[in-house]
């Protein structure tokens, strides 16, 4: 049946659903995909999953005269398609993002159009069904997809950073508002990322950083760990990603690569140290890109200098300059270099544990 209206009232539930979706498009509240209507009842179910008051301000951009409350975050999380029990993860992801220098500066408005990479650690991954293995960057998993999308809707709606208006991305980043991965802790030889972020292993935590790109390193070609890391160093060191004196990049290792490096006796810090030493370019290479001279902190063209000098890519071996995560399936040697916008805050946010008596109604 097509349903219809009676005295202006929608008499068919599906008609009502469709009209609601169109209404929210008309309001300019969506990221281009349909959103779920946030009703008082549903938002209250989300708010019941956290001890934080609905009016607590969890983010603000004073220069835009906008702020985000727990309640606004909940409304946007509903719209993104989250289940209520995901909401503590959304809040933790938001807290982690607010610890990033760029997100409280002009990062959301930037022409570089960065996007958060959200990394989930701890038992919450299984409890809520976050994907940590095959296709970890891809779609198909509600928790991953909707938590990332919720962050994007908060930025758009609550902070008011809308594309073509206050958001001025030249091209933006593929996967914007869609990159939420769980770490494959079960197949990682190393401590989880959240430990680098100051949270004990086994505790639910979320880490985020802003990315400008992700690019694969497919290496099923060598059993020499140094040859393997050399392949990563080549990808990391490309000049196009390099605008200031130093840059940052992370690696999301697949289990196969991580296990191969660990079997050779390398810790995460050992991998970092190896890459810090070798990632970079000669001044002659940088000169060909107009980036051979550092003026203030910005790279510029110069006719002076030593063409043979080696410029290191990373400032130092701190995890915030080179975060390392293990995720994906153990079925091939395919990892991802992620281009960090400025650097990672180095701070992971704990996820509030499920509250006693909190119930999650069917959605």
């Amino acid at each position: 049946m097509t349903g219809g209206t009676l005295d202006g009232q929608v008499t068919d539930a599906l008609d009502g659903a469709h009209q609601s979706i169109e209404y929210m498009y008309d309001q300019g509240w969506t990221d281009g995909l349909p959103v779920v209507p946030a009703t008082r009842e549903l938002v209250d179910a989300f708010l019941a999953t956290t001890s934080r008051p609905a009016d607590e301000v969890i983010g603000r951009l004073d220069h835009l005269k906008r702020e985000v409350s727990v309640q606004l975050a909940a409304i946007n999380a509903v719209m993104a398609g989250c289940r209520p029990e995901y909401f503590p993860v959304v809040l933790a992801a938001w807290d982690a993002l607010m610890a990033e220098r760029s997100t409280v500066g002009g990062g959301w408005q930037s022409t570089s159009g960065p996007a958060p990479l959200i990394v989930v650690n701890g038992p919450v991954r299984r409890r809520l069904g976050f994907n940590a293995t095959g296709g970890v960057f891809g779609p198909g998993f509600r928790a991953n997809a909707t938590v990332a999308r919720a962050i994007g809707l908060i930025v758009r709606n609550a902070l008011g950073v809308v594309p073509h208006v206050l958001e001025q991305a030249t091209q933006g980043v593929p996967g914007r508002w869609a990159m939420c991965i769980a770490e494959n802790e079960e197949e990682s030889p190393w401590e989880p990322l959240s430990v680098d972020g100051g949270v004990a292993a086994g505790v639910d935590a979320v880490s985020t950083t802003l990315l400008r790109a992700s690019e694969f390193v497919d290496n099923r070609h060598t059993d020499d760990p140094e040859a393997l890391l050399g392949d990563f160093a080549d990808t990391i060191s490309r000049t196009g990603s390099w605008i200031f004196r130093h840059a940052s990049a992370g690696v999301v290792f697949c289990p196969e690569h991580a296990q191969m490096l660990a079997a050779a006796g390398m810790s995460k810090a050992g991998v970092r140290d190896w890459l810090i030493e070798r990632c970079g370019r000669s001044e002659a290479d940088l000169a060909r890109a107009g980036k051979n001279h550092v003026h203030g902190n910005v790279r510029r063209q110069s006719d002076d200098g030593d063409p043979g000098a080696f410029h290191r890519y990373f400032a130092d071996g701190a995890p915030k300059n080179l975060p390392i995560v293990v995720a994906g399936a153990r079925n091939a040697g395919i990892s991802m270099v992620v281009r960090v916008f400025s650097n990672w805050s180095g701070i992971s946010a704990r996820v509030e544990p499920p509250r006693d008596g909190a119930t999650a109604p069917a959605v």
């Binding site: 509240w29 209507p37 408005q109 930037s110």
Partner: protein
């Protein structure tokens, strides 16, 4: 039915818009000019050229030059007051990125609100975001001076040419006689 759908923006139903334009100076002869550089590449050079042209052609005098501590944010209160104290008119820019173009518009409005006529220079690639920011700061019709994009890659001679193209508009923007 739709009134049951909660608003995700937190915005008030009716945004307030109160245009406040400072009184223009009667003449630029002897007028004190403040230059507020937003740190974008070539901004300082363009402002310096404009200051020189306002001096040579209109008899104005540059009394203060300041650089914003953060390109993305509007000028803070102490710097605003410091500049306003010794300026009759202010020139700011160059809006040449996502966040700084927006904040340049906010800077101009802030100066107008303390009674200083302001010329805000923004690259034309960022016109929409600068105008949107003007709306955020309560004056959606605030007048912005546009210069062709890009500015950052110009050499010194080209920057001087830009200043020469802009100076009459800058003068008209801040003085009474032309309005």
């Amino acid at each position: 039915m739709f009134d049951r759908i909660l608003d995700p923006t937190g915005l008030p139903a009716r945004p307030t818009n109160v245009a406040v334009a400072a009184r223009r100076v009667p003449s630029l002869a002897g007028a004190r000019v403040g230059l507020l550089n937003n740190t974008k590449r070539n901004a300082a050079q363009l402002l310096t050229e404009l200051g020189d042209l306002l001096r040579d052609r209109y008899g104005a005098v540059v009394t203060i030059r300041r650089t914003k501590p953060h390109v993305a944010f509007p000028v803070d209160e102490p710097m605003l007051k410091e500049i306003a104290a010794v300026s009759d008119v202010v020139i700011t820019g160059v809006g040449d990125c996502g966040s700084c173009s927006a904040s340049a518009a906010a800077d101009g409005i802030a100066f107008e609100r303390v009674g200083i006529p302001a010329a805000v220079i923004v690259s034309d690639a960022f016109e929409v975001t600068a105008r949107a920011m003007a709306g955020v700061h309560g004056d959606e019709n605030f007048e912005i001076l546009l210069t062709p994009h890009p500015v950052a890659v110009l050499d010194a001679e080209q920057v001087a040419e830009r200043a020469a193209e802009l100076v009459a508009d800058v003068a008209d923007r801040v003085r009474e006689s032309a309005r």
